[in-house]
Symmetry: D2
Subunit: 295 residues, 4 copies
Amino acid sequence: MTTTDANFTSRTRQRWVLKIQCQDAKGLIARFAGLIQYVNGNIVDLYQHTAEDINMFFFLAYFDIDSSESIMDILKDKLDAVHQTHPIEWELHCLQQVPRLAILVSKTDHCLYELLLKKQDGQLDCSFPLIISNHMDLEPIAQHFSIPFFHLDVKNQSKAQAEAELETLLKKFSIEGVIMARYMQILSPDFCRRWPNRIINIHHGFLPAFQGAKPYHQAWNKGVKLIGATAHFATADLDQGPIIYQETLRVADTCHIQDFVKSGKDIERKVLYHAVRSYLQHRIFVHDSRTFVLE
Amino acid sequence: MTTTDANFTSRTRQRWVLKIQCQDAKGLIARFAGLIQYVNGNIVDLYQHTAEDINMFFFLAYFDIDSSESIMDILKDKLDAVHQTHPIEWELHCLQQVPRLAILVSKTDHCLYELLLKKQDGQLDCSFPLIISNHMDLEPIAQHFSIPFFHLDVKNQSKAQAEAELETLLKKFSIEGVIMARYMQILSPDFCRRWPNRIINIHHGFLPAFQGAKPYHQAWNKGVKLIGATAHFATADLDQGPIIYQETLRVADTCHIQDFVKSGKDIERKVLYHAVRSYLQHRIFVHDSRTFVLE
Amino acid sequence: MTTTDANFTSRTRQRWVLKIQCQDAKGLIARFAGLIQYVNGNIVDLYQHTAEDINMFFFLAYFDIDSSESIMDILKDKLDAVHQTHPIEWELHCLQQVPRLAILVSKTDHCLYELLLKKQDGQLDCSFPLIISNHMDLEPIAQHFSIPFFHLDVKNQSKAQAEAELETLLKKFSIEGVIMARYMQILSPDFCRRWPNRIINIHHGFLPAFQGAKPYHQAWNKGVKLIGATAHFATADLDQGPIIYQETLRVADTCHIQDFVKSGKDIERKVLYHAVRSYLQHRIFVHDSRTFVLE
Amino acid sequence: MTTTDANFTSRTRQRWVLKIQCQDAKGLIARFAGLIQYVNGNIVDLYQHTAEDINMFFFLAYFDIDSSESIMDILKDKLDAVHQTHPIEWELHCLQQVPRLAILVSKTDHCLYELLLKKQDGQLDCSFPLIISNHMDLEPIAQHFSIPFFHLDVKNQSKAQAEAELETLLKKFSIEGVIMARYMQILSPDFCRRWPNRIINIHHGFLPAFQGAKPYHQAWNKGVKLIGATAHFATADLDQGPIIYQETLRVADTCHIQDFVKSGKDIERKVLYHAVRSYLQHRIFVHDSRTFVLE
């Protein structure tokens, strides 16, 4: 490849996303859209919301650009300059550089299959460099999809040891985010704090109700008419992290508890998939322990 | 009217419903369907469910019959006879004899309108002989629909006094059931106990989450992605009575709290209407503080 | 009122919406957001979409402004100036100046009640200066809500005559848009052409299926599992105008045709309300006989 | 195995389903429930519906029984006897004897995966003895699930020849029903007639709208707000067979056609799964080219 080719490659048309949250102020959109125009980007979709009750401004712009490193550096400098006068939290991502996510599982396969199949179908723009589990049961699925599978021995070592091993793996594979796809272990508060808003968990219940164990049994005994699932970021407080997505499903009173469990799987995989997709599209803003997902 | 006319009237074709719940046993359906056939009834819709986990049998049969009092007495005797050998709870209702329900309201009108309009449209087979409120605001609506309106003074008398007045009204108008259509007062445990499974309340939240006051505010702060409403029988435990019907509604993260409140009204009226309809069609079985609604 | 008062009033803080559709080009958002900033407006919600397949750009900005006539004239001039170099269709509306809409009905009241109640509840920002019907049945509802009611005699005059009478009424009351709330008459192609994208009709079926008469009967005979309703702009082609909103409802196979009709009413009123709301919030873009509703 | 063992096995407690459809008449339920009681069966769930408009009676009873061949022969004789006096269509199935179904696919894998995973998870009580395709693409999936895969050459032979080959395979593997899981070939009217109500097809559109090719493109151009999928029995009339299940999904106006196609897959697999499940539970009655599914 010649130098010219390399230049050409590095200047290929790319889609980027600029994500900003800050206190509301006048003229913010014009300012941020102006920055994108300044570096010759073309916005194709823009989402903006002002949460008036709390005076917060959320901004999400997808734009196409003949990007080169120098151009993006200019944009970053401009954003930093804005930050000097009006504090903003900003992120800039190239959608062609797909995030590397680790999947954690135990024995249940419906969420794992969903993630792998959606990715294969081009509906999740990420890579899954490895699957980690505290059981061996799902290894054949990893093999079928040609993904390295690692067994994490949580029985014969302390939680601290197991999490150290886990983090070594995540580092080795340059993992940016973690999906708990029905991983039946609880990550330590410390671990969660080291990965803020980067661990997505699926809870098989409609939070905030029925927290903790056997939510479907609780739901059946209560005679609820809908069951649900909730995807959220894992935080130090179990099942209390910011909610990303939720869904409910009507259940007939002729259902048995086992029907709840089985039907629940369909919502779980749907909710987890949806949450991961929002994450990969950088649509999730976290503010004051709740999310604002712009879509 | 001549005797012949009277006979004719009393033998008009009518639709009845037989509702039975009991411990499961072999041959129950054949037995109960046999009884209906014995009195020459023709079953048009039958719902039956055995909750195997708890070994309970629920049976609901709608049947047409050239009914006369004597025929129905035979049926009742037969059911009592069954009860001697195998304890059953049974009810027998003629669908042409519509229940008399009282509506309790405060200031909000969306649930009241829903009930009155659905009844007017022939979708609620009942009569609403009176509307009772602790405020005067909704009297014009009662007038528009030509229904007596009574103001219940809850400010200048004790709860016991107000409830005594309420019960006098219910008795005077031969009321069989009560609908709390966003009646912002809490009925006393004693009152609820005297009207078991006959007071329907609409809670503006997806129970069991967000109990108590301002559920929509709680929901917004938590960043939930769905809001809900729950219709349940009022019991001595506030907001803990058997759930009759529930529904959720997706809310965008661009919603304000007031949007939650306003959108919530649509689910509330829908859920309350649905619950009252199930009640009027005698579809609700209560067992061990949960319902089984067969539909 | 003194001159000062008048000035004060005319400069009160107001919410406006700027709506633009045009061929896509680079820098459009920055340009339009810049114009709003130029006149000192503060954008609170912005929706933008580029339909890449057809290269169309849609832009919707809600902004707060201490508006005076001169300021808005400046904005209008700027928009016209843009139009000289890059053709755009733009609209500018003050949300405090609510549109005047006429409601057309026949004998069915569920859609009429829905509109009047939602408006009364503050969920439809418009006024309903008059109700027009080819029957007298719904006059009491108009009276209950204190709205002038006009009977349009479609039997004893030609369609042309009736429509002339209708248009005289619309003009007399300065009507900007028309809602056919189950008005069982067909407006002439000429009439529809004179009110492009300003007549909203509710069709009691899930278009494009089951066009024309008795869609619920057609649906039952076909054994469909969902019924639907569709709100659309009335055009010269019956039931073929741009779709604004749709919804479906699951129906059990134990339903009778009459159940379809009755359940259908709930979707009809919901869909019509939703469409009118989108219309009042200026969210509906029409391009090439389909809509793009940004929400 | 000794004779005693054989006896024991043949008298194990089993769950059966009795399915009957006929003209309505008085006392049918008591009669049919009585027959089940006569052979000592215990009904655990019963569904019955009378379609009054067309005077049709549908009956579905799930019952537990210590079945032996002789007992079931008695029941069959009794049913035949009923048929002599009042013509009925009846079926009797043991739920422990799971049907053998063939899956037909082309290149798309989402419906195939759904069926295989749901079966593996115990939610489809059937066996899939073989997968047949006109392409080789999905063979690895068949291998992963250890199911024989057969390639049907539809290019180098006539449709008649290919269908003969197909039927030979179905016969060889004792197949009772066929699932077209996005099999992009049209079966001949003759073939469909030989397998009445035993071929389930998934149509990627909300029938009866958008029949034929590229329904998602048609839908996008029309600007529909919901897309759908329909499972139906394949008949001689393409896409006109009795509908088994349908579902719709809201699509935003910011979606591209490709989003329709991708989102559509989720409804397709859900609808197909639901239809196959109803089929396996013997819940589908076909009468006069529509279905009545009791659930």
